[in-house]
Amino acid sequence: MIELNGVSKSYNGIRRAVDNLDLTIPDGEIFGFLGPNGAGKTTTIKMITGIIKPDAGQIRINGTDIAADPIKAKQRFGYVPDSPDLFLRLKGLEYVSFMADIYGVEQELRNSRIETLAKRFDMLDALGDTIQSYSHGMRQKIVIMGVLVHHPEVWILDEPLTGLDPKSSFTLKEMMREHADSGRTVFFSTHVLEVAEKLCDRVAIINKGKILFCGTFPQMQEHFQSHESLESLFLELTKHE
């Protein structure tokens, strides 16, 4: 579960990137975080993951306040950043193993998890090569593997489907569903509204740092008394902002 209470962040003391955000993502849910470019999605995700500090408000991951006990809170989640061009000089396997070390995954467990993940993402033949030699999609896959190797309770994924081939994209969506169905939390941001519509249990639409809507897709249709697609509703919602 992720809870945000009155979270605000501004840059240079002027522009409010995130404005008094309240959000609760309960266990057992895939939660989609939508919004136009520059709406505050990545800033929110960076605050949840402890990369930047909110100016005000409180963030809890499975009940642990990230400001009060950052190490414990950070152990609870796995985070996929929006750009996978990281640690390019490491080999794929070195990177995943490094992530396993950071989260203290035991030897036996990590071996079997790496094997399973590599099979599911079709990466078995690439693990011995440096990440620099990977395509964009492969880099995305290795970053996702690095996160999933420690079986985090809460998944926080920033644009995780960008660049993935259809099969890997399908696999990741399948894994997200499995994870939520096992009673844990998946929080992800996306621009692909079809994916959000099909995959998410609930969505929030953010623009200019404020939540415009939060709820299920049918609730949204009811709210706007419309039977249009999420895309039309999204465009309508963010048009006048």
């Binding site: 240079n12 003391g13 960076k46 993951t49 402890g50 990369i51 930047i52 500090k53 950052p70 190490i71 414990k72 809170a73 950070k74 152990q75 985070y79 950043p81 750009s83 061009d85 990281l86 640690f87 000089r89 490491l90 080999k91 396997l93 070195e94 995943v96 193993s97 490094f98 396993a100 070390d101 950071i102 989260y103 203290g104 995954v105 035991e106 030897q107 990590r110 071996n111 790496i114 078995l124 033949d125 690439a126 693990l127 011995g128 090569d129 440096t130 620099q132 030699s133 990977y134």
Partner: protein, 552 residues
């Protein structure tokens, strides 16, 4: 031409931090620059003094213009050597290359802009190397306005030919090494051979000039045409002679003539560069970021080795090591200084080997019972540690990946340990290299050797902690090439400066105390040990807070 200007402006903006600075941090930067200027002041003053003395000596026999010749020759050589590194970085390994290649630009347009960027950085070097000389000469010779006008023009134009030559050399090298899967390795080997050549060259120069210890002898050499550096430089860059003549005769029409001749020679250099660039650049730069994998499954022993479980901090340390080893720019700036710098310090020692009396005096000094010998060794180790960029770029090197690291559940102490480890180990390594060299040349007793290592270890640990402290305050995380992270970064300069000041204070302190060997070693060990503990406490206490503040 318009495209060249446009590109140059964008590239310069992109590589300077100023655009992205937070409000209110300008005065901080200004203060830092001022501090550095104060730090380098003794160097500048002694440089000015040296030039003034030389001038007076040479003026008595009417040969003062030799100073200009030497200065311009020196600056041409320095720019040529430094240019090779800049060109490799700016022309080839900068990330904007991939964005520029698809644009409808001619090679000479991209090259022209990149050349100007490299030139801009060379001006900074030139300012330090020859700025004081030009001013001192002008003041001393009561030169007119024309002299200064000519000096400014020459200042701007002199680096062009050496830089064009190093560009052509690099373009040839890159063109013919852009082959096969192992091109990165091929280039690294080429680069190391290049460094070897530069070291050899320096050795050669030092050896030739070894008899040159005082100003009078240097003046003699300059007059009799025996100065190897000057001869070599004017042979490689014949146009330099025209520049000198233009300055010397700046009051006459002939000076103007020489200036034009020099400008023409420079223009020829630019044309040659442009001609070579059109033919060589694209063939060398295309596919530069490609690196091929084997796409072979990792199994059995290899898998077990790569996936072996380690404690988090140790795993982080190993990650740091791997990145340093596998990134040519990091290797050159973090790894090689530890191994090569002691040799650079050694070269003058070789030079003075011919001068038995001096070496004997030095031997007597070092083998005496005084504690000064151990202080000198400690100062040497501290200076070496200051030259090593490993700890002072520990955060900068991570670039954008640093933000992912911030989301790791890693206690700050462990992070600190992992970040300090590689630099400290490398610094300790250089202590032993330095010791080995010292033992080779000087009759160092086992006791002195032991004590030297004993006091140097806390010395270099302090330097590494200080380096990390600087990087934690002002890391440069948005860079477009790894070279930019370590080279176009002011932080290593602070570490260098701090090392110099600390070494000077140590030597001065011990000299004024005049204690004997063992007490001096014990006191130095204690003092540096306590300083280490204090700095460590500060880092552990304030570090997490400082790290939290790094948000962009």
């Amino acid at each position: 031409m318009n495209n060249i200007w446009l590109l140059t402006k964008i590239m310069l903006k992109n590589s300077s931090r100023m655009g992205a600075r937070k409000k209110g941090s300008e005065w901080k930067s200004l203060m830092l620059v001022a501090l550095m200027l104060i730090g380098f002041l003794p160097m500048i003053i002694s440089g000015v003094w040296f030039v003034a003395e030389m001038y007076d000596g040479l003026a008595q026999i009417g040969q003062e213009s030799a100073i200009l010749g030497m200065g311009l020759a020196m600056v041409s050589c320095a720019i040529f050597v430094l240019g090779i590194v800049y060109v490799i970085t700016v022309f080839y390994y900068s990330q904007d290359v991939e964005h520029l290649l698809p644009l409808p630009l001619a090679p000479r347009e991209i090259l022209g802009a990149k050349f100007l960027v490299a030139l801009f950085y060379e001006y900074l070097t030139e300012l330090v190397l020859i700025g004081p000389l030009l001013v001192v000469y002008g003041v001393k010779s009561d030169a007119g306005v024309l002299y200064y006008l000519f000096a400014i023009v020459l200042f701007l134009v002199v680096p062009v030919v050496p830089l064009a030559l190093s560009s052509i050399l690099v373009m040839l090298f890159m063109r013919f090494t852009n082959i096969g899967k192992r091109k990165d390795r091929l280039r690294l080997i080429g680069g190391i051979v290049g460094i070897g050549a530069v070291l050899g060259f320096q050795y050669f120069i030092q050896r030739q000039n070894s008899a040159m210890e005082d100003i009078e002898q240097m003046q003699q050499q300059l007059l009799s045409g025996e100065n190897v550096l000057l001869n070599l430089a004017t042979q490689i860059f014949p146009s330099t002679k025209l520049a000198v003549l233009a300055l010397v005769e700046s009051g006459y029409w002939s000076g103007l003539g020489y200036l034009f001749a020099f400008l023409l020679a420079t223009l020829a250099g630019i044309l040659l560069f442009s001609f070579a660039g059109d033919r060589l650049y694209f063939a060398g730069v295309m596919g530069i970021s490609d690196s091929a994998g084997t796409r072979r499954k990792v199994e059995g022993h290899a898998f077990a080795k790569l996936a072996q479980m380690r404690p988090a901090w140790w795993s982080y340390t190993i990650k740091e090591w791997r990145v340093i080893w596998r990134t040519p720019a990091y290797m050159l700036n973090c790894l090689l200084p530890s191994l090569l710098m002691p040799f650079l310090i050694l070269i003058p020692l070789v030079g003075i080997q011919d001068r038995k009396d001096l070496l004997e005096a030095f031997r007597g000094w070092i083998t005496g019972t005084g504690g000064i010998s151990v202080a000198i060794f400690l100062a040497g180790s501290i200076v070496l540690a200051g030259m090593n960029s490993a700890s002072v770029t520990a955060i900068t090197r991570e670039g954008q990946a640093f933000f992912l690291s911030k989301s790791f559940p890693l206690p700050f102490r462990q992070f600190l340990l992992a970040k300090l480890f590689p630099g400290t180990i490398l610094s300790i390594l250089s202590i032993f290299v330095l010791l080995a060299i010292a033992v080779w040349f000087l009759p160092i007793t086992p006791l002195l050797a032991g004590l030297a290592v004993f006091v140097s270890i806390p010395g270099v640990m302090l330097m590494n902690q200080f380096g990390f402290l600087i990087d934690l305050q002002r890391p440069k995380l948005s860079w477009t090439s790894e070279q930019e992270a370590v080279k176009q970064n002011i932080n290593p300069l602070f570490s260098l400066l701090f090392g110099g000041v600390l070494a000077a204070i140590t030597i001065l302190g011990v000299v004024s105390w005049g204690g004997s060997l063992i007490p001096v070693a014990l006191v130095l060990f204690l003092v540096f040990g306590i300083l280490n503990l204090m700095l460590y406490q500060v880092l552990v206490k304030k570090g997490p807070e400082w790290m939290d503040k790094i948000e962009k």
